[in-house]
Amino acid sequence: MNITFGGILYDPTTGVNTQLAGASLPVQVDPSHRCYSMVELYFNLGGSPIALYAAVWYLRPDGTSGPSVGEYLLSNDYLICYNYDFTMVGLWKVEASLGSSFMESWNVFNVTNPPGTFSDMKVTSFAKV
């Protein structure tokens, strides 16, 4: 799944929000992972890879921010959003900052739980009751 991140670059020194029309932030959610969702963030801001801070936030059903995962990474790197208890399904927010500027977007991607897996089924005993 590829989702283009139509973010806003905010410059606090000028207070100007700039729509990043030319930059995109595709997000991939890997449904093959059973206990977590891996979000790959590719920052195509042009030029050489740059170090920046990226975070993803879980959006609770009531609209508030839930647990987050954030770390410094290079462009074309990825971030892993753990969802160990299978409860953080739904919409997530992506935020990235570079220096004093940041861009964010809500409802960037939707995490769904993979189906459960049953295995090694066996009958251990038969009994008359």
Binding site: F86, N113, G116, T117, F118, M121, V123, F126, A127
Partner: protein, 170 residues
Amino acid sequence: MIKTLEVVLDPDGLYTGQEVVPGAQIFVPQTTDMYGRVWGVYTPAATPPNTISVNPGDTVRFSIRFKYLGPAVSYTLYCSMGDQTLGIFNEDPKLTKSFSKSQAAAPSQVTVNLTADIPIPTSYTNYGWRDAYCKVVSPQTLSPIYIDCINIVAYSPTFTDMQITQFAKV
């Protein structure tokens, strides 16, 4: 000259990703399509963990174990006794039952133990050894098929507790 009967089963009957492993295999019919073709899965035959003898009116308890990984889920457990003939498992509808179960979320793989009871109807007369298996219906996960694990035997007439309760002049 005696020739063995070879039964060739449609390999398309396998579900995607399921492999036929070496050893005795039994074809478990699942559905019949509009062309009358029977679709099913192959599952290995296995030696039963134990054998029991029961009478009509008794209840057979399956103790079942499996592993689970994933979110909380409601599922259907299906247990059947029947007969396998020429590699085909024929379920006895009188000895087959579905159970609604639920499983809590398991972020890492857990082992689940549960039981399922199937009553033998008191009117049941198809005596003899039955084979058995169980499965989770969706996502379909089958146990091996256990051969000759439950022997259904008729009640033999028994006279017990004989006593004279009274003597009387008549």
